[in-house]
């Protein structure tokens, strides 16, 4: 009996808490993706590279002598500018064609290829380190939590709530949702639709950037770091429903729990097939994912 309790406390519980800290990171990545898709119908294949640029942004700013906190505050702003420029300069150009889905996907795919190589030229191929601004660990009910992870979970949770409030409780969010629901109607009601698109894309990119900064001290920084997130973030967005914020949060937390608990029992190399299997099953059951689009919920 006591060994079962021990197992719950010392094996399962830490596993679930660790899963939660990965989950928050995955949700942050998936949120940017799903918001961009929800409004623009754009699958941003370069999202992982924007995440990497965020992390490198922090490396560069810290290298210039700033503190981690300044880097954390400043990087998302710079990323938003980069996102805005990318949307206006590149995505807008193919946005009005018939094959918008495919063309924007391909375009961001090409942009991703270029960005990754640019990072390599500027910063080199070897991994870089960002020192965690908070050190030490806290012991709670016999479990051991690094303080920086607790911080990341807290900030991540706050960001998720903030995004939700912004989209569903502010007039800005209402404009975005209206544009997602019916772009022609909103345009005729005087919504500056192309600026809303660019701003939303910028917002999604800034979210990727802020995840990059937050996770840099835990996951380290290297040019291909974004690729690791591609499969899981896309799966989360698909399962949750493309464009659904609620879906991304729920699917992100659930999937990472499934992964971390299953890794107690099966070889982790089967994690990806498992994830993928769940994705296929969900799609067979509900082809549109768990929740609908941004405009609807």
């Amino acid at each position: 009996m006591s060994s079962a309790l021990d197992w719950l406390q010392f094996v399962l519980a830490p596993q679930m808490v660790n899963g939660l800290s990965i989950g928050v990171a995955v949700v942050l990545m998936a949120l940017g993706l799903t918001i961009i898709f929800g409004l623009l119908d754009v699958i941003n294949m370069a999202h992982g590279e924007f995440y990497a640029i965020g992390a490198y942004g922090a490396v560069a700013l810290i290298g210039l002598g700033m503190s981690f906190w300044w880097a954390l505050a400043l990087t998302p702003l710079l990323m938003a500018v980069l996102g805005y420029v990318t949307e206006r300069g590149l995505i807008q150009r193919v946005f009005h064609s018939k094959d918008r889905h495919t063309l924007t996907l391909l375009l961001t795919f090409g942009v991703g290829i270029v960005l990754e190589d640019v990072l390599k030229i500027v910063f080199g191929a070897n991994p870089l380190r960002v020192e965690a601004p908070i050190t030490g660990a806290t012991e709670l009910v016999g479990l051991f939590f690094p303080n920086y992870r607790l911080f990341v979970m807290a900030v991540g949770g706050l960001l998720i709530v903030a995004v939700w409030v912004l989209v569903f409780r502010t007039s800005l969010g209402a404009i975005v949702r209206a544009a997602a629901f019916d772009r022609y109607m909103s345009a005729s009601l005087g919504v500056p639709i192309s600026r809303v698109y660019a701003a939303t894309f910028a917002f999604g990119v800034a979210l990727a950037g802020i995840s990059g900064v937050l996770l840099a001290p835990i996951y380290s920084v290297f040019p291909t770091m974004g690729r690791d997130f591609v499969l899981i973030a896309f799966s989360v967005v698909i399962i949750g429903g493309m464009g659904s914020i609620k879906g991304a949060v729920l699917a992100g937390l659930l999937l990472t729990q499934v992964q971390s608990i299953s890794s107690l029992f099966i070889s982790p190399v089967w994690n990806d097939p498992l994830l993928f299997g769940i994705m296929v099953l969900v799609l067979m059951w509900r082809p549109q994912g768990l929740y609908g689009k941004l405009g609807n919920a």
Binding site: L103, L105, L106, F109, G110, G112, V114, P273, F276, P287
Partner: protein, 335 residues
């Protein structure tokens, strides 16, 4: 020249010019290379054709059905592994390994299609991507398939008495004939009612059921055909290079095939062969000058998507068509 009224990207006569130009050009190249005794360029060109076959299968799905496959390398790699195993472990015969690879890719295409075809648009793209990721990881971890080292020591395949795939010019011609056969078969298929159903699906899938057809079945068939084309092309790879490795299934290969199609011209079929040749050549040259060929290829791709979304052939074809129509109208040319 009854088609001159609709100078679309698929205008038959102009695209026929490009087809003949490609295959005759390849023959002239083979002749020239044979005369100077070249080996490297012949084998590089053979590789370009093989990856052209993969691109052709991507174009069938992307250009003709409107489905973007981001994991087509799965079937290419499958064909390559099956072919390598047949040649090395069972019986050294070109015909046998090609047949077994075809059967295997058709079966895999059927299974993969049933999983992937239900999804539309970007969902399909991401599912095909995930499918290839999962399978390539499994291969990467299977010791019996050589795991990360792949399978080396695949012997040159016996094609005819006295000809093996180790002969550069002979195997180039065999590959050329294979790709030509695939291309002709595919263009013929597109002229049949099946092909017209596909273009109807691409234009407006929701109307198809009202015409009494089940779009799902047509899409599935197209997916299986595409898997077979990719698998057959893949089957040629170990014959050329003597090995297979899990990298053949990686996203890099799938992504390059999509790039080849877009650069060559989506939906033109022949464009995928032009795209593959162009980019294989370009990479071989650029890679020698700079380690940052990624940027060159990536920028080229971005520019094509923004400025010439119809690709090389899709852009040149209407121009040529207009010229042909003009010559026909003024009575100085035409057939």
């Amino acid at each position: 020249m009854h088609d001159q009224a609709k100078p679309s990207a698929q205008a038959p006569s102009a695209s026929r010019y490009f087809t003949w130009l490609f295959f005759l050009g390849a023959l002239v190249f083979a002749l020239g290379a044979g005369l100077v005794g070249d080996v490297f360029f012949l084998r590089l060109a053979t590789e370009a054709l093989i990856f052209g076959g993969l691109a052709l299968s991507v174009d069938l799905l992307l250009g003709r059905v409107g489905l973007l496959p981001l994991g087509q390398a799965l079937f290419f790699g499958l064909g390559a592994y099956v072919s390598a195993l047949v040649l090395k472990e069972w019986h050294n015969s070109f015909w046998l390994s090609v047949t077994v690879s075809l059967v295997a890719s058709a079966l895999a295409g059927l299974v993969g299609g049933i999983v992937a075809i239900r999804a539309k648009g970007v969902y399909f793209a991401l599912i095909s991507f995930g499918l290839a990721q999962v399978v390539s990881k499994v291969v990467f971890n299977t010791r019996d398939l050589g795991a990360s080292d792949g399978i080396i020591g695949v012997p040159g395949a016996a094609i005819f008495p006295g000809l093996t795939s180790a002969d550069p010019i002979g195997f180039f011609l065999v590959t050329l004939a294979t790709i030509f056969g695939l291309y002709c078969g595919l263009t013929y298929l597109m002229e049949t009612p099946f092909g017209r159903q596909l273009s109807a699906i691409r234009t407006n899938e929701h109307r198809i059921p009202f015409l009494g057809f089940d779009p799902w079945r047509y899409k599935l068939l197209a997916f299986v055909v595409a898997a077979c084309i990719a698998g057959l092309s893949g089957a040629l790879y170990p014959m050329l290079r003597g090995f297979v490795s899990p990298e053949l299934m990686f996203f890099q290969v799938s992504g390059n095939a999509v790039i080849n199609v877009i650069v060559g011209g989506t939906g033109t079929l022949i464009g995928s062969l032009y795209g593959s040749t162009l980019l294989t050549g370009l990479k071989s040259v650029v890679g020698s000058f700079t380690a940052h060929h990624q940027i060159v290829i990536g920028l080229l791709f971005v520019v094509v998507v923004i400025v010439f979304p119809r690709g090389l052939i899709g852009y040149l074809s209407p121009l040529l068509q207009r010229r042909l129509s003009f010559r026909h109208a003024t009575g100085r040319g035409g057939q």
